[in-house]
């Protein structure tokens, strides 16, 4: 493997406290090393450009069954967005739900090295892994969903944290999963009967347990195991006007829980796409809809053990998809577009609905504003990560546009004045008009690499240019001294990196993808627990009686599904 030295770039690395210093970054044998430690390295001239560790995506839907429903049921998503093969590059297609090939290239062009698939239905884990294998270049992991799983509901109802933890460990190993995801706790199981849980105290039919208990129990189990990532929640009542109270109730469940892990992670709860959960007002129709981002952020800013990602609406036509089955059903009634749903036995559900965030409507404008407000109101950017909940609030390829809005008040004003039809109402009923903060490149590095790496428990590998970390380095064609006049330059630069090294391999050279990557890995967590005959018996019982596959046919076997694993071992036997 060739060694590289990236010379004279403006380097941003919040972990090392480097804020725009001009320096060299070196990669040897796939890892970052001190610049003096390479001798015969290939030189890359980064003068006048920005250098960072490669991006780490904490939450996106880019592989798995619902993503593929989105692709297959939306031929129109490919109408103007196919790129032909050329050179080493394979065919690409899709805008809001790109093909796996395009997903890999998109991430590479945006300078990312790792992405977490945010919701994997365990029964469909094989599918998720098959897509991950076919996604070039980037390292990936996937979070199995637990918040509506029958085992979890039953154990938590009986307050059996240890059994919950043993089951989680078992399922991670079966599915080659990375951590604990929880979507609309209790609500998705209720959806099995066409119902929902709208607050943290609604009771799940038959199982007689509440979302509050589920979230609390999953955090406790997560910390009992000492998993690298904290419990990752998508709360109840996503997208409902007035839901910020439910959000605060959900966040407060983390009080009293302490992080327990060997990975440097400080949070016990990661709340995803918080934008969708910060709404005031009574309904969409009543004109009472308003932002409650400040209220939620006041709480987040006063708390140490919570992280979140933004879920910024990008005002595009996109494809929404979530394990929140009842939400997608309601959404389909709002826009009367096509609706796909899959309920998954004993585990979860999912829905998919196309959606247009129309800048000519007040609501879409307000949603756009709320997402940005969260990024602008955060005190410690290490706790707030930039996402679009791709593709829910906006396509993956819009990340650079979101950076532009966060980094430039001028760009936001332009939106409010010239693009949104109800910009004035948005200023009135949201907080965006009061916020003139502009996120710096240093803060951007926290919100897109250092922070997410930390909360995923991967800061020993990604998110910084510290010697010994993975050789994931990106050079953006953005000069922090002279390119500050035009916000469009931000969007262009972060969508079209000049150079990407992934694990020390040259992937993007002079703005062109030059390799499909040779060492793409799937990350999963193997948590060892003490033998638990109760859980073992429960598992074999459920398989015999209620699953439609046998227990022996459930596990995702290594060979074809996880051909290049990176296993993080956790010992929870003590």
């Amino acid at each position: 493997m060739a060694d590289y030295i990236i010379r004279n770039g403006f380097v941003f690395d919040p972990i090392l406290g480097i804020n725009g210093d001009i320096m060299d970054v070196a990669v040897k044998d796939g890892k970052i090393v001190d610049a003096g430690d390479v001798t015969k390295a290939t030189e890359i001239d980064a003068s006048g450009m920005t250098v960072m560790a490669a991006g780490v995506d904490v939450h996106a839907h880019v592989a798995g069954p619902k993503v593929n429903v989105g692709r297959n049921f939306r031929p129109e998503d490919k109408l103007f967005s196919c790129s032909p093969r050329s050179g080493i590059k394979r065919m690409e297609a899709g805008f809001s739900v790109p093909t796996t090939i395009r997903t890999g290239y998109l991430y590479a062009r945006m300078g990312f090295g790792f992405s977490m698939e945010a919701a994997m239905p365990p029964l469909y884990a094989r599918h998720t892994h098959e897509e991950i294998v076919d996604t070039p270049i980037i390292d990936q992991g996937a979070l199995p969903v637990f918040g509506n799983n029958w085992f979890v509901l039953e154990y938590i109802k009986e307050n059996e944290v240890e059994n919950t933890a043993a089951y989680i460990a078992w399922l991670l190993a079966q599915t080659k999963g990375y951590g604990v995801k929880c979507v609309n706790p209790g609500g998705t199981e209720s959806w099995g009967w066409g119902m929902n849980c709208e607050t943290v105290d609604d009771v799940v039919p038959y199982f007689d347990v509440t979302p509050r208990q589920i979230v609390d129990g999953l955090i406790a189990a997560n910390e009992m195991l000492g998993l690298p990532h904290c419990m990752h929640v998508h709360g109840n009542s996503l997208g409902e006007p007035g839901n910020y109270g439910v959000t605060l109730d959900t966040l407060k469940i983390a009080e009293g829980h302490k992080p327990n892990n060997e990975f440097g992670r400080e949070s016990v709860l990661h709340h995803t796409h918080l934008q969708f959960h910060c709404y005031g007002g009574e309904s969409y129709a009543s004109k009472s809809f308003e932002s409650k981002s400040k209220e939620v952020m006041e709480y987040v800013n006063s708390t140490d053990n919570i992280t979140f990602d933004l879920g910024v609406v990008t005002l595009d036509e996109t494809t929404t998809m979530t394990a929140d089955g009842p939400f997608e059903f309601h959404l389909s009634h709002m826009n009367n577009l096509k609706w796909a749903n899959t309920d998954v036995e004993l585990e979860t559900a999912a829905g998919v609905v196309p959606f247009i965030y129309n800048p000519k409507t007040f609501i879409a404008g307000a949603q756009w504003a709320i997402g940005l407000e969260l990024g602008l109101l955060i005190k410690d950017p290490m706790k707030a990560y930039i996402t679009t909940d791709a593709p829910n609030a906006g396509p993956l390829m819009r990340y650079p546009r979101v950076y532009k809005w966060l980094m430039s008040a001028k760009a936001r004003d332009d939106m409010l004045d010239n693009v949104l039809k109800y910009g004035d109402s948005v200023r009135e009923r949201c907080y965006i008009g009061e916020l003139d903060r502009e996120i710096s490149l240093y803060e951007l590095a926290m919100m897109t690499r250092a922070g997410p790496a930390k909360t995923l428990g991967l800061s020993h590998m990604f998110g910084s240019l510290k010697a010994g970390l993975e050789g994931d380095v990106v050079v953006y064609p953005y000069n922090p001294e002279s390119d500050t006049d035009d916000p469009e330059k931000i969007e262009y630069a972060f969508g079209n990196c000049n150079t990407l090294l992934k694990g020390g391999e040259l992937i993007v050279k002079d703005g062109e993808v030059v390799s499909n990557g040779k060492q793409k890995r799937t990350f999963w967590v193997n948590a060892k627990t003490n033998e638990n005959p109760v859980v073992e018996r429960d598992i074999s019982e459920k398989f015999k009686r209620y699953y439609t596959v046998t227990q022996n046919n459930y596990a995702v076997e290594g060979h074809h599904y996880v051909p290049n694993p990176y296993v993080i071992e956790v010992d929870a036997t003590k």
Partner: protein, 438 residues
């Protein structure tokens, strides 16, 4: 002592039963018996051990006779045929593993092929309907555990998916359906009195080709609006009874098959069947599931979905994926003389395509990859027998509800035989060499 292999997955139909047990002889080489499988499934396993099975590729001679060739020669012919063709058709992909399909995609991309699977003549109309209106669905376990109203529309699982009713839909005692078939009401919609229809609580013996009208009438009845005296030959009273049955259930499911996907109306029938399901969700919980035929036709649509964005009828000839059923579908391409070579793997168009299309295959340079001698292999220029997926080599397959299951290897293939995946990899390699890209 016979050796028993458990948890074996049946590589025959879209039911993808995964609880088979296969008894092998002492040497572990011969299959003696297949337990739990239905007759068709068991036959597939036993057939892999037929004495007269072909084990080497063979080329058709000028005089129509066959001559054995080596795998290397077969690879050479196939690679050259694909490279020389301006627009080859690569059809089938429904009876093989996803990893083979994935290599096939790369090959199709490399040679600019039109790629199509058997959905083109079965549930293609369903895939189109899903693109129009979506699909509220569920895994088969949801049906087993919750469904108390089960509709079979234009399908006959008693014969086509023999273990479907016992494993998933009618007989199982699930978590919330403890009384098994006694907790369910079964409705069958079929112009014929099939063996499935004979078991139904209500059999709607509609007039042939009137599915759309009847579905429309059920939608009206669900909403409590007025109906004409009869629709599609069914009295209004019966239609209301069915609508009420579905509405009053806790969980309703519609299973549908080729009797409705390919009768008059095609994808529009499915559009409205999905609309019925969607409507029912305003009152109770409802799902709809296609009865997919080949054991991995579903997987083929999935693999192409994530690689190209479309589930069938792919045209890769311009260097990027295009999709236009009716134009980029196999029979249309063949009938219009638009393709100049035919590659078949994992299906038998010779048995299922219109005779006009089959004649075209016979006229063109053509390769058939199939463990069996079939009507397709008979009309192809080259026949390459391969190992049986799910018997002699494992690999992923997707059940009719899109649940992926890893099929198992039970016995070794005859010595020296290649698998689909191996053969495709060799062809891809050779194609790259010929084109100078490797």
């Amino acid at each position: 002592m016979a050796k028993i292999v458990t948890d074996v997955v049946c590589p025959f139909c879209g039911t993808l039963c995964d609880d088979l047990e296969v008894a092998l002889d002492d040497s572990g080489e011969k299959i003696l018996e297949v337990y739990n499988a239905c007759a068709i499934g068991a036959t597939k396993f036993l057939h892999s051990q037929a004495e007269d099975r072909l084990t080497r590729p063979r080329m058709k001679q000028e005089d129509g006779s066959w001559k054995d060739v080596t795998y290397d020669e077969a690879v050479e012919y196939t690679a050259k045929m694909l490279v020389d063709a301006k627009k080859p058709l690569m059809y089938g992909w429904s009876s093989t593993s996803c990893s083979a399909q994935s290599i096939g995609s790369e090959l199709g991309e490399e040679v600019g092929a039109c790629m199509d699977n058997t959905a083109t003549v079965c549930h293609g109309s369903t895939l189109i309907a899903v693109q129009d209106v979506g699909v509220p669905s569920a895994t088969l376990g949801e049906i087993a555990n919750r469904a108390d109203r089960v509709v079979f529309w234009g399908c006959n699982p008693a014969h086509a998916h023999p273990r479907h009713m016992s494993r998933y839909s009618i007989f199982p005692r699930g978590f919330f359906t403890g009384k098994g078939s006694k907790s369910r009401k079964m409705v069958v919609v079929d112009p014929r009195k099939t063996d499935t229809a004979k078991m139904a609580d209500i059999h709607l013996q509609l007039e042939q080709g009137r599915d759309y009208e009847l579905l429309s009438a059920i939608r009206i009845a669900i909403r409590g609006e007025k109906l004409p005296e009869t629709v599609a030959g069914i009295p209004a009273k019966t239609i209301k009874e069915v609508a009420d049955t579905l509405k009053s259930g806790r969980f309703s499911v519609i299973f549908f098959g080729m009797g409705v996907t390919h009768s008059l109306g095609k994808n529009h029938n499915i559009d409205i069947a999905i609309a019925v399901t969607r409507d029912l969700n305003d009152y109770t919980k409802a799902a709809i599931i296609p009865m997919r035929g080949h054991y991995n036709v579903t997987g083929s649509g999935q693999v192409w979905g994530w690689q190209f964005g479309y589930p069938f009828c792919l045209d890769l000839s311009r260097g990027f994926p295009r999709y236009n059923p009716g134009d980029s579908s196999s029979n249309d391409l063949l009938i219009r003389d638009e393709v100049d070579a035919v590659f078949t793997l994992g299906s038998d168009p010779g048995a299922h395509f219109p005779v006009g299309s089959v004649k075209k295959i016979a006229q063109l340079p053509s390769v058939c990859i199939d463990p069996h001698i079939t009507p397709t292999s008979a009309v192809s220029k080259l026949h390459v027998p391969v190992a049986f997926v799910g018997v002699e080599v494992g690999g992923c397959a997707y059940r009719m509800d899109n649940v992926p299951i890893e099929t198992r290897k039970v016995v070794e293939p005859p010595e020296g035989m290649l698998t689909d995946e191996e053969f495709l990899a060799k062809v891809l390699d050779r194609v790259k060499k010929i084109k100078g890209v490797a």
